[in-house]
C-alpha cells in the first residue's frame, strides 16, 4: 500500500501545454529517484482556450491508483484568469501550495490557509525569446522554486529532451529565469 504520494494538479487552457509541462516534471521526477510516477490527463471536450487539468502523482514507490486527484498537495495554474473560472483550490490539503502564472504578488490572492507563489511567466517567456503565449516551460521553473521538490537543473534537462528541435535551450532558459523570479508568499 502506497501512502507516500505527492499529488500535484495542473490547471491550464487547451493548447497551452499544461499536459506537456506535467509530463516533463514526471520525467524529471523519475530521473530524480521517484520510482513511481503517474501523469494522468483528464480529457474532456477541450478546445483551444477552455480550462483543462491533469493529475501528476509522484512517489518513491510504485503507484497503483490512477484515478484523478481529488485532494492535491499542490496546484499549478498556467493562466491566472483561470482562478476566476475554476475553483483551483478545490480539495487542496490545508497548507497546500498554489503556483500561479500571474503578474500579481502572492499577497494579492486570498486562499485561506494556503501558500501562494506567483511569477509573471508570460513576460519572462518573451524575454527568453519564446513566441508570445508559451508559458508551459516557464511554469516549471516556478514550480521548482515554490515546491523545492525537484532540482532545476534536472528539470531543465527534461525540458531540453522534450523540446528537441523546438528551441530546447530557450525553453530551458525560460524555466531558469522564472525560477529566479518566482515570488513565494507566506
Amino acid at each position: 500500500m502506497n501512502k507516500d504520494i505527492i499529488e500535484i494538479r495542473w490547471h491550464g487552457r487547451g493548447g497551452q501545454g499544461a499536459i506537456t509541462a506535467a509530463k516533463i516534471v514526471a520525467n524529471a521526477a523519475f530521473v530524480s529517484g521517484y520510482g513511481g510516477v503517474v501523469m494522468a490527463p483528464t480529457f474532456g471536450t477541450e478546445r483551444r482556450g477552455a480550462p483543462v487539468l491533469t493529475s501528476l502523482k509522484i512517489s518513491k514507490q510504485k503507484i497503483y491508483d490512477l484515478s484523478p486527484i481529488t485532494e492535491p498537495d499542490m496546484v499549478v495554474v498556467l493562466d491566472h484568469l483561470i482562478v476566476k473560472e475554476v475553483d483551483v483550490a478545490s480539495g487542496l490539503k490545508p497548507g497546500g501550495l498554489i503556483v500561479i502564472n500571474s503578474p500579481k504578488h502572492p499577497d494579492d490572492y486570498n486562499f485561506e490557509g494556503m501558500k501562494v507563489a506567483t511569477a509573471d511567466i508570460t513576460s519572462i517567456a518573451s524575454e527568453s525569446g519564446l513566441p508570445p503565449g508559451v508559458v508551459n516551460t516557464g511554469i516549471i521553473g516556478a514550480f521548482a522554486k515554490a515546491s523545492d521538490l525537484i532540482d532545476i537543473d534536472t528539470l531543465a534537462r527534461a525540458i531540453e529532451n522534450e523540446f528537441k528541435g523546438k528551441h530546447p535551450q530557450r525553453n530551458a532558459e525560460a524555466a531558469r529565469i522564472t525560477f529566479d523570479n518566482t515570488i513565494v508568499g507566506g
Binding site: M1, V38, A40, P41, K62, Y64, S67, P68
Partner: protein, 393 residues
C-alpha cells in the same frame, strides 16, 4: 539496452512495435489510439524500422490491408479504438477466419451515441465472438509485455489467429507511468522470424484465399477456429513462461491477487484493477479477507482455471465496464458459467461501472467490499445486477 522510463501507454505500444519491426502497418488514426500510429510513423520516417506503412482511407480498409499483407506473407500490425474497430467489423471476422496472425493494439473506448472518447470495453466486448485472441492489461507495462508476446502467440502453427492487445483509453493510453522497456535485440530474438503459411506471393505454389464455402465445409472451418482458440490457451501459457524466463515478469491467463485465503473477491478487467489492489492492501491491514481476480485472457476464456481459483471464495462481485442491454455484463456471464459446475459455488453478482470513462475512486471500491460483506453476512444478494455511480439508480 533495457531501461526503465516514464512513458504513456500509447508510447509504450509504439516502442513495442518499433522493436517488433513488422513488415507492414496499415492504419487509420482514431482517438485515443492515434498516438500509437503517430509515434510509429515517425519511426518509419526516421528509418528506425523497415516497415511498409500504408495510410488508408478508413479502418475497414486498414484491416483489409492487414489481411492482404498477412496473406501475402508479412508480419502485420495496426492499432485502433472504438468506432474505428466498429468499422473494421466485417474484416475482423475475415482476419480470424483466414487465420492471419495480425496483431492489433486496441485502446478501449466507448462506442457512440452519445459520442464519447473515454474508456469502456464496449468495443472489444462487442468483438468477443470475432475469433480474435483478446489480452487485457492493467497498466502500460502489461500492455507492452502483452504486445511483445502477441506475435509469438498468434503465429504458433496450432493457433494462427489474430490477437487484440487491449488497454483502457486515456487512463492508460495517455497516462505517463514508469515501466521497463526491454532491449531491442532481446525482444527481436524472443519473437524470432515470421513464418508465413501458403503466402499468396509464392507463385510457385499458388493458393486461393477467401473461397466460397457453403453447407459443404463452412462449419468445419468454424470448428477449426474454435480448436485453434482452445490451443491458444496453452500457447498463451507457454509464451508467457518463455517471456518470464527471459524478462522476469510472470503472467498467467488471469492474475490472482491475494485470493488464496480470501472470502470476498472482485473480478475485473484492465486499469481499475490497480485501484482495487490498493484498496485490498488497505483492508488486508485491517484483517479483511478480500482479493482480486484480474482477467488477462478473455478470449480464450479460462473457465476451469477460474473455477479452481475461486474454490474457497464465498462471494464474488463481477465488475463489467461494458453493457449487453437486456442481459448481464459479458464478464459476469462467463464467470457464472465457469462457476456452474463447481461443487461449492460462491455467491456471485454483477455491477456495471465506468461506461464512457466515469471514474471509479478507491472510496467506491471500499463501498463494493462493504456491500459484498453485507451480502455475505445476510446470505442474500439484494441486487443481482446494478450500476455503480449512476444517476437515478
Amino acid at each position: 539496452m533495457s531501461k526503465v522510463l516514464a512513458i504513456t501507454g500509447a508510447g509504450a505500444m509504439s516502442e513495442g512495435m518499433r522493436q517488433i519491426n513488422p513488415d507492414v502497418v496499415p492504419a487509420f488514426p482514431i482517438t485515443p489510439s492515434t498516438q500509437v500510429i503517430e509515434d510509429f510513423s515517425q519511426f518509419v520516417a526516421d528509418g528506425k524500422v523497415d516497415t511498409e506503412m500504408i495510410t488508408v482511407e478508413s479502418e475497414h480498409s486498414a484491416m483489409s490491408a492487414c489481411i492482404g499483407a498477412a496473406a501475402a506473407g508479412g508480419r502485420v500490425m495496426t492499432a485502433t479504438s472504438s468506432a474505428g474497430m466498429a468499422l473494421m467489423w466485417e474484416m475482423l471476422y475475415i482476419a480470424s477466419s483466414m487465420r492471419q496472425p495480425v496483431v492489433m493494439t486496441l485502446i478501449n473506448r466507448a462506442l457512440s451515441a452519445p459520442i464519447n472518447i473515454h474508456a469502456d470495453h464496449s468495443d472489444s466486448m462487442g468483438a468477443r465472438d470475432a475469433g480474435w485472441i483478446q489480452l487485457y492489461a492493467e497498466n502500460n507495462q502489461e500492455a507492452y509485455d502483452n504486445l511483445i508476446m502477441a506475435p509469438k502467440i498468434a503465429e504458433k502453427m496450432d493457433v494462427r489467429l489474430p490477437v487484440m492487445v487491449c488497454m483502457d483509453g486515456f487512463i492508460i493510453s495517455h497516462c505517463v507511468q514508469t515501466m521497463q522497456l526491454e532491449d531491442d535485440d532481446k525482444v527481436k530474438k524472443f519473437i524470432g522470424g515470421f513464418e508465413s503459411t501458403y503466402p499468396v506471393l509464392d507463385t510457385e505454389n499458388p493458393s486461393t484465399w477467401g473461397a466460397l464455402d457453403l453447407q459443404d465445409y463452412y462449419i468445419e472451418h468454424k470448428r477449426a477456429q474454435h480448436i485453434a482458440m482452445k490451443n491458444a490457451k496453452d500457447a498463451i501459457k507457454k509464451v508467457s513462461e518463455e517471456f518470464a524466463d527471459i524478462f522476469g515478469r510472470k503472467y498467467e491467463l488471469f492474475e490472482s491477487y491475494r485470493i488464496d485465503d480470501a472470502e470476498r473477491v472482485i473480478i475485473a478487467i484492465n486499469s481499475v484493477c490497480g485501484e482495487i489492489k490498493e484498496v485490498i492492501d488497505e483492508r488486508r491491514e485491517a484483517g479483511d479477507k478480500v482479493g482480486l481476480l484480474k482477467i488477462r485472457s478473455f478470449r480464450p476464456f479460462p473457465y476451469e482455471e477460474i473455477a479452481a481459483a475461486l474454490e474457497r471464495v464465498k462471494i464474488v462481485t463481477v465488475l463489467d465496464r461494458s453493457e449487453s442491454m437486456g442481459a448481464y455484463g459479458p464478464l459476469f456471464t462467463e464467470i457464472r458459467t465457469a462457476l456452474f459446475d463447481a461443487p461449492e459455488k460462491p455467491m456471485v453478482y454483477n455491477r456495471i461501472f465506468g461506461l464512457g470513462g466515469r471514474e471509479l475512486f478507491m472510496s467506491d471500491i471500499h463501498d463494493i467490499f462493504e456491500e459484498n460483506k453485507t451480502y455475505l453476512e445476510t446470505g442474500k444478494v439484494e441486487k443481482m445486477f446494478d450500476y455503480l455511480k449512476v444517476r437515478g439508480g
